[in-house]
Every structure is written in structure tokens, then in C-alpha cells.
């Protein structure tokens, strides 16, 4: 059927087989085996287009393999393996299956050579991932999941509309580099933008990620947004607008990350913040910048995973991830604290850790191409990341003022997953050549120059100093049991209020009308309500006579139109 075996099929087969296995350990084992086999398939996949299938007269290219696709597919496989290892204790078939489907769809989307198969997998990630949110099982989670699903599916629908227009304009469905200009490309851009967390389109991210289960958040953090980064790099590399969008993403999320109380939400904002770096890189569009975006995506998947794993472990042991309720946990969770520090060092771009060798590619590219404002904002973003994530997370959870909580160290499989992920962070930092070899373009870049090391150390140290002094002086925003508004306020609070006010007004008007005894108007409104309203069961039991009247009317219209011609 296919000339190569599509890696996504391994995940699909795994997802079909997994629920049938009776034993939880067997299921967890199978779920670990799937990304290993999938990763091996990706590693050995020949370059070029493969697995072309025909659907309803369209040729769909299931696999278009080049270095840009393979690096994302590989990091997705690795992330799937690590997060499934972290989730070894999960007994819930739904979560296990959804994870496989989610990771499989993301990998399928990365390899999709045309817009239709991209759309299919795009929606696949949306639908599979929402189960990780619903798996929390509370009513709040259900509503958050609905919001998340609505936005994600909308993104897919927009993508499909864009694809249809694109097909009409160009006669091709191939997913290649495109230039903004037509309605089609704008729609596709918008669809990717939603998943990518563009400013004002990003409210789903911080709304939904912290709501998922302990393991679900780790899994969510790896795929959807990085898939969007891949799609941008594939379709819109070098689009100048993206530089400003990326700058906006960095700026708009920084404050939220500073003042948010839920540590998993802090990490969601921080993730969104880091996406801004990649988007700027894609906007610059040079080989160096694209390498930077791809490598930073890889590094970001890993360090974000280890941080979320550590916070997840804390949640798993204490039942909360709120900064206001935590602190001093290093006493009983030393290893988790250590791994969190590795993640922090990576996101702070300390030398010898992964962020150092990837972020600098983007910053250098911005300098080379004379995008000084973007460069300055990214520099500011780096310094801010030191404060709001790299220091705040370990401080709030592990090292800050004691909360009195004395939980056990995280379970062994979690420690193993965190340790492996942390090891990857260090490995990339120490030996960046291995990662550079996988990047889309040849890399001729030296990270470890004296200048670079010193400047980065200065940046981190001074940002840390500001944090420490401000915290000591009591000027740093306090972690309080409160929530912080974001743009999702518009549809969570404003819109319902407006609709409520409107319907109240309507009700008042209705009362006015009813009291005025305007019988004919009342009759019309009543009938309108009944034809479509929930009580239409009553109204729609039409007497035969009126049915016949309708027939006569239609016959009359038909006869008139027929004769008129």
C-alpha cells in the first residue's frame, strides 16, 4: 500500500492495541515501545515524498521528509517517550490512548506534504489532546476543555478554508513556502497563528495547559505549539510580519508570567514567551535564524518538559502547584529540585545548558540582519525569563520560604524521566554539534566564545540580582491566592455578561410587549420562538390542513416561475 511505513501508523496501531490490553503495566510498556519504534522509523526514513494516497480524487502526500521535518519528528518522538515514561503510573486507558493519538497526529502533521493531510492531523492533535484536559475529571476541567477544543477545532476549520481557497487560487494543495497576500494564505497564517499563540490568539494556551492532569500538561506542552512553529517555518519563513508578531509574543506574556500564582500557568506563559523567540527567528528567515528556531524548539521542548515534570511531581505529591502554597520542598524532594534547576539553567541560557547554544542563534541572526528592536526585545525577554521562570520556579517551589509541606520524593519513574530529560538538556549544551547536525541547514556557528559566555553570564547574574534584591525588599510581585486576568476574560466574563444583559433587555422588551397586549406582535414572536425553540415539539405538530396549504403555496410558486420563463 505504501512505499515506506508511515511512522504515524505505528502510533495509530498502538492506540488501537493499547485499550485492548488488560494489564496496566503492559499498556504502559506498549506506550513506551511505540515512540521507540516510531523514532527508529523516522531515523531511517529516506528523504523525499512517499506514501502518496488518493482520497476523493486528490493526491495526498502523507510523507514529505526533509531535514526540517525530521528534526521536529525526532524531537516529538523523544518527547513522547519521555512524557510517557513520566506517565508510567497512569492507569487510565483514555489518557494513554489519547497521548499516542496526539503524538502520532503531531508527527503525521509534520510529515504531511499537502494541506489536506496537514488539516487531518491538525484536527487530530486538537481532538486527541482535549482528553488530557478532560481526564482531570472535574467540571471546571470539562468547561476549560470545551473552550480549548472550540478554539483548536476553529483553527483547523480556518486551515481547511484556507486550503480550499489556496487550491482554487494555485491549483495545488502542496504545503510549501507561501507568501502572504491572498485570502487563502492569510487564513492559513491565521490558523497556524492560533496554535502558535500569536498575541491575542494565545488565550487558550494559559487557560488550558495548567488544567490538564499532572502528566497531561507535560504532554500538551510538547506538541501543539511546536507543530505550529514547524508549520510557520515551512510555510512562512522570512515573512517580516512574523518578527513583530514574535516581539509581541515575548512582550505580552512576560508580565503575566511574573505575577501568575499557579506555577504550571507560569510555565505556560513562559512557553508562549519562548515561542516568540522562535517566531522572530522564522520571521528573519535566514538559514541561521531558521536553524535557531528549529534548534530552540528542540531545546524548549526538553527544558519545558523537565520544568513541568518537576512542578507536576510537586503537584502529584502535595496536591497543589500554587506558588502561594509551596516552598522549601528541596528538603524532601532533592532530586526533583536538582532536575528543576537543570531546566532553569537551560531556559536561562546558562553556558553548558541547552538554551545557551540555541537561543544565541536567533539573537545573532537578529543582529546580522540588523533587526535591532527585535534583538533588544529578545534580550529583554531572556533577562525576564531568568526572573519569571528560571529563578521563580525553583524559588517558589523548592528553595523559598518554607511552606511546612514535607512530601516524599517523586516516584522512581518520574525521577527517571526527569533525569533523562535533564541529561538531554545538558548534553545539548555541552555538545551542541550533535543537535546542529540535525538542523535544516549547515551550521557554521560557535557558541562558546569568551564574549558570548561572559555576556550571557552577566545577563543571568544581573537579572538574578534584581530578583533577589526586589524579593528581599518586598517589592517583587507577591505570590497570592488569586488569579490574574488574561484576554480569555473577554469570552469568559465579558461576552456572557453582554449576552446576559442583552437577554435581560430582550426579556424587558418582551414583558413590555406582553403587557401592551399587542396581540399580533405577540403572536409573531410566540411563533418564532416555537418554530425553533425547545418547545417546538408542541408547535411543530402541524394540522394536516396547514401542511396542504404549504403544498398549494409551493405548487403556486413553482407554476409561476415555470410559466414566467
Amino acid at each position: 500500500m505504501f512505499d515506506v511505513f508511515p511512522p504515524v501508523l505505528v502510533y495509530l496501531l498502538g492506540a488501537v492495541l493499547l485499550p485492548l490490553l488488560p494489564n496496566a503495566a503492559l499498556r504502559a510498556g506498549l506506550s513506551l515501545l511505540v515512540p521507540v519504534i516510531g523514532g527508529w522509523l523516522i531515523w531511517t526514513l529516506p528523504e523525499g515524498n512517499h506514501a502518496v494516497v488518493s482520497l476523493a480524487g486528490l493526491d495526498l502526500t502523507l510523507i514529505r521528509n526533509d531535514k526540517l521535518a525530521s528534526v521536529f519528528a525526532l524531537i516529538f518522538s523523544l518527547a513522547a517517550f519521555l512524557s510517557l515514561l513520566y506517565a508510567w503510573h497512569v492507569r487510565d486507558r483514555v489518557q494513554q490512548t489519547a497521548t499516542l493519538l496526539y503524538a502520532g497526529s503531531a508527527i503525521g502533521a509534520v510529515f504531511a506534504g499537502d494541506l489536506i493531510s496537514l488539516f487531518l492531523f491538525w484536527e487530530g492533535t486538537a481532538i486527541a489532546s482535549v482528553f488530557l484536559i478532560w481526564a482531570r475529571g472535574t467540571e471546571g476541567a470539562y468547561h476549560t476543555g470545551l473552550r480549548y477544543l472550540l478554539i483548536q477545532v476553529t483553527s483547523g476549520v480556518i486551515l481547511l478554508a484556507g486550503a480550499a481557497l489556496y487550491w482554487r487560487e494555485t491549483g495545488s494543495l502542496a504545503f510549501e513556502h507561501m507568501t502572504l497576500g491572498s485570502a487563502a494564505t492569510w487564513l492559513i497564517f491565521l490558523a497556524i497563528g492560533i496554535k502558535c499563540g500569536f498575541p491575542l490568539l494565545n488565550n487558550w494556551l494559559a487557560d488550558a495547559y495548567p488544567v490538564a492532569t499532572v502528566t497531561g500538561t507535560v504532554i500538551l506542552s510538547a506538541f501543539t505549539t511546536k507543530l505550529a512553529i514547524y508549520a510557520l517555518a515551512r510555510g512562512f519563513a522570512g515573512t517580516e510580519l512574523l518578527i513583530w508578531i514574535g516581539v509581541g509574543m515575548v512582550l505580552i506574556t512576560v508580565v503575566q508570567a511574573m505575577i501568575e500564582n499557579d506555577l504550571r500557568r507560569v510555565l505556560a506563559y513562559s512557553l508562549n514567551n519562548q515561542l516568540g523567540f522562535m517566531v522572530v527567528g522564522i520571521g528573519i528567515g535566514t538559514e541561521l535564524a531558521l536553524n535557531g528556531a528549529a534548534s530552540h524548539a528542540v531545546a524548549s521542548v526538553l527544558y519545558k518538559a523537565v520544568l513541568l515534570m518537576a512542578v507536576g511531581a510537586v503537584l502529584f505529591r502535595t496536591g497543589t502547584a500554587k506558588a502561594s502554597d509551596l516552598g522549601g520542598l528541596y528538603r524532601t524532594m532533592p532530586l526533583t529540585a536538582l532536575f528543576a534547576l537543570v531546566g532553569s539553567a537551560s531556559i536561562a541560557a546558562m553556558p553548558l545548558f541547552s538554551g545557551f547554544v540555541t537561543k544565541s542563534l536567533i539573537l545573532s541572526a537578529a543582529q546580522h540582519e540588523h533587526h535591532y528592536i527585535a534583538w533588544a526585545v529578545l534580550l529583554f525577554g531572556s533577562a525576564a525569563a531568568v526572573m519569571h521562570t528560571a529563578i521563580r520556579i525553583p524559588y517558589a517551589a523548592f528553595f523559598g520560604p518554607d511552606s511546612g509541606l514535607r512530601p516524599h520524593e517523586a516516584p522512581a519513574h518520574m525521577l527517571l524521566a526527569m533525569g533523562l530529560t535533564a541529561a538531554f538538556c545538558v548534553a545539548i549544551g555541552v555538545y551542541p554539534k550533535a543537535l546542529y547536525a540535525l538542523l535544516p541547514y549547515a551550521v557554521d556557528y560557535k557558541s562558546y566564545t569568551t564574549y558570548h559566555v561572559v555576556q550571557q553570564l552577566q545577563l543571568v547574574a544581573f537579572a538574578a540580582l534584581v530578583f533577589a534584591v526586589m524579593m528581599r525588599a518586598g517589592l517583587y510581585p507577591k505570590s497570592e491566592r488569586s488569579i490574574v486576568l488574561d484576554t480569555d476574560w473577554v469570552y469568559r466574563r465579558l461576552l456572557p455578561r453582554v449576552v446576559g444583559a442583552l437577554s435581560a433587555t430582550m426579556g424587558a422588551v418582551w414583558a413590555l410587549v406582553a403587557s401592551a397586549q399587542e396581540r399580533w406582535l405577540r403572536g409573531i414572536i410566540l411563533r418564532l420562538y416555537r418554530t425553533h425553540g425547545p418547545a417546538s415539539r408542541i408547535a411543530l405538530n402541524w394540522p394536516t390542513g396547514s401542511m396542504v396549504q404549504w403544498v398549494a403555496i409551493v405548487l403556486g410558486i413553482t407554476l409561476i416561475v415555470t410559466f414566467l420563463s
Binding site: 425547545p534 418547545a535 415539539r537 408542541i538 405538530n541 394540522p543 394536516t544 390542513g545 396547514s546 396542504v548 396549504q549 398549494a552
Partner: protein, 145 residues
């Protein structure tokens, strides 16, 4: 074709006028009468109008009954009416009778179950049933929320 209202045109198409009057009468009864049996009667009149339309179409002026002589020597000068519409309408009459009897049988059952054959009364009962179902449903659902 002249569309002027001249007498020969009106008289020449008298079968169509009758057909239209009968058809409209039948349809009117179906629409206006609430009694189920009367509706069936209206339906019958409506169908009869169609039968008449067909039969009058088959009539050829001066034509005789379309029966072949037994010796099969057909006189080319004799004009026969078209037998086909009659045959068709025989089938349609059978269908009409079947419809009528089925309709009446249904009315008997409706009378047993609803206790009335007036449309108004039946719809009142049905509306009450639907309202009761709706009330039960919304109560249970709101309780659950």
C-alpha cells in the same frame, strides 16, 4: 395560441374547468374540515377530479368505444376513443379505494385511542402529551445540572 377570453375557448375546455373546480373543492375540504372522515371524503373528490381529467382526455370527438370487431376487420373510417387513459385510471381508482379504506381503518383506530375524530381534539391531546414529555424532560435535565 390566443389567450383572449372568447367563448369557444372557454366552452371547448369545459372539462378542464370542471376538473379545476372539483380539484379545488376537494383540496379545500382537506384544508378546512377538522373531521377526519370529511378529510378522506375531500381527498376522494380531489382524486375523482384527476380521474375525470384523464378520462376526458381520452375522449375523441365522435369516437366510439375502442372495441375491436370479433373478426378483427377494423374499419379504417371508424374513429375510436383512446383506451389507454381509461386503463390507467382503472389502476388509479384501485389505488384510491385502497387509500380510502386504509384511511378509514386508521380513523377507526384513532377513534379507539383518542376518543375523537375531530382534528382539534386530537391535537389538543397530542399537545398535552408533548408538553408533559417536555416538562418531564426539562425537569430531569435541570436536576442533573
Amino acid at each position: 395560441m390566443t389567450a383572449e377570453f372568447d367563448l369557444p375557448f372557454i366552452l371547448g375546455h369545459v372539462n378542464y374547468w370542471l376538473f379545476i373546480v372539483l380539484m379545488m373543492t376537494g383540496l379545500y375540504i382537506v384544508v378546512a374540515k377538522g373531521n377526519l372522515v370529511k378529510k378522506i371524503v375531500g381527498l376522494n373528490i380531489f382524486q375523482t377530479a384527476v380521474f375525470m381529467l384523464y378520462i376526458s382526455v381520452g375522449k375523441v370527438s365522435g369516437g366510439t368505444a375502442p372495441i375491436f370487431p370479433t373478426d378483427m376487420n377494423v374499419d379504417p373510417n371508424v374513429v375510436y376513443s383512446n383506451p389507454l387513459p381509461h386503463v390507467l385510471i382503472l389502476t388509479a381508482i384501485v389505488v384510491g379505494i385502497a387509500t380510502t379504506s386504509l384511511g378509514l381503518a386508521l380513523i377507526v383506530r384513532i377513534r379507539e385511542q383518542f376518543g375523537t375524530i375531530e382534528e382539534e381534539g386530537i391535537y389538543q391531546i397530542e399537545r398535552d402529551m408533548a408538553a408533559e414529555e417536555y416538562r418531564l424532560h426539562s425537569e430531569l435535565m435541570s436536576e442533573r445540572r
